[in-house]
Symmetry: D3
Subunit: 137 residues, 6 copies
């Protein structure tokens, strides 16, 4: 298979088909998005990546982050890494989880201020404050 | 002033002193962290950057993101950009806003899965799904 | 010439034509790929870049890296830098040098684990082990 | 535990101790490097990350990449991502696997040419050659 | 509004229309480029970003950087960040300010040498020279 | 030699000594900064890199960029790439070429606005304006 070929369902071996089925169930809309179809040319990596994705994004602990906060973090990382596919995918995912226009506007504003202070801190070679190095307790 | 010099309070001109006072009040702990002291060699940029920081991070609208979610996004961007100072600063800020160990563990896990799928999507040249391009309404 | 214009053979001055000929000979398939046609609007930079490319990728020393290992490194850097053109180009180059599906799967898996531990090490601010700082002898 | 605290052996719970033991055995030198000690504040992420690391870097298939090639890829990604800790760690790992000075020099040279052509291709907005989009068979 | 929708003039509320008018006047060609039309779904962020853009790029002080030098810096940052839209936009802007082919060739050459030495310095873990840390006076 | 060892003059072979001498002459202050001493463990890469550096940064054509503009571009790339050593080195180099505090403040302001619009353009997936794709003539 070619590197940007997308595996369709008829080409899926049983291991891949099992992951695709789990993705369909987990997403709730019956679709398998292109990322997984592209990754399916390596069934072992597909399985390992999906297992981590599911455990990380869908198995919530009561005192951990909620699914929406996790999506915001995922999206923020994807923007900073400049991954266009991931930006499309996780903006859609955040909307599906209820992101409002006001929340999206806030996300954009935070990404903007963070990006500029990241660059300024690098250029200014700001030394880390002692307070940030102290033990928390 | 040198590029990594930190302006102390006695060196601050009135414009800088006014920003420093506002930072102290906003933070609630009387401290001005090193980033602002480094940036203070350019009073205009200090004022503009602090004004955006304050408007973005502290002025919440009822239907926008809450302050804790904003900190998570800020931290996620800083990690992905590899800004060590910012990572220290905003991990501390998230803890100050109540980030628990379980939430921190979730943040790390999301950053880890996002970073790897960002790289995989780039290498696999995954085409954007039509569903992500459709209008939302 | 425009920034994303590609110089065709009829437009090449003698200096550019000489580089294009050398590229054709070195590649063995008679083609000059788009990168060099785009760079050809600056003949001096074309010559200098091609000379370094050829010296680095094609002149092997017996105890240095073999051409295939070099391509893997090139591809890994290109993925991490998010250069879509380079990812296409050097995935093709690695395949031309014999990269199997199993090797490609391994490459993807290593890029995935490296990307996530890079991000985790940044967020965790891991101090460098003394063992990594010791002289090797 | 604090974000850059390193867990020592006496603090390890049984799950963490089991991973530490496996790291010691796998490395062959009895050491647990700082990355794992920092990650150990989240035992589940430690286990998942170590499991992927081990499966990716140590379980070789006959027709896949050899361990040394994998280390080169890991190091190349870490350089491009600017992760200082990872650069120290994986340069050491490559040397442990036998990287010679000539091979290290080649690695540096490839990273240098790749970094510059990545940037040039971005600025020149080079369109992907049709040949790179064609099916391989 | 959708994330990549572009606001046309008939959809602009008075606040957005005022920014669009100011952009048209400042640019001198009557056009509002897509970036601002995309950002316009968040009028507050549009206003704040445009205000900073205008103050930074168009309000020159006699002893500060001239507009052309500022465009070169903007373009260099955009290349290094891999932002394709920004690369198109600011290459065009630099040309509009008179960038010649010889200047563009120099820009490319500097970006190329900087990108490679950045990567080499990271891999070589070069310690900062004392001379760079000394006060300037 | 170790990866972060710095070659002192007594260890330099004739090829390395010749480059060091040329660096001293070119800089005008008799010093060889750490980057070149670290790179000297690979004399061929040292020679090639220094040759490109000198040709790019010191050989000016009348209609190309002046040395100060080149340093600004170099510094901007280094900031965006997050290379701390390079940021120190090229901030010092820009100051040596006469960068004033007002110019440095402008540089910081441009880097800040560029960094934030780069991130916003990525998240907003802004399509490239037709005007930026048109031929210049």
């Amino acid at each position: 298979m070619l590197e940007n070929d997308l595996l369709d369902d008829t080409e899926a071996n049983p291991a891949v088909a099992a992951v695709f089925d789990d993705i369909r169930t987990s997403r709730g809309d019956g679709a398998v998005n292109n990322f997984w179809r592209a990754l399916a040319h390596d069934p072992k990596l597909l399985e390992a990546t999906w297992a981590r994705m599911k455990a990380t994004m869908m198995d919530s602990t009561p005192d951990g982050l909620d699914p929406f906060s996790k999506e915001l973090v995922y999206l923020a990382v994807s923007i900073a890494n400049g991954c266009i596919y991931c930006v499309h995918c996780h903006t859609a995912a955040a909307r599906k989880l209820g992101m409002t226009e006001a929340q999206y506007a806030d996300l954009l504003a935070v990404v903007a201020i963070a990006s500029q202070t990241n660059a300024l801190a690098t250029e200014l070679k700001v030394p880390v404050d002692d307070a940030y190095r102290e033990p928390a307790e």
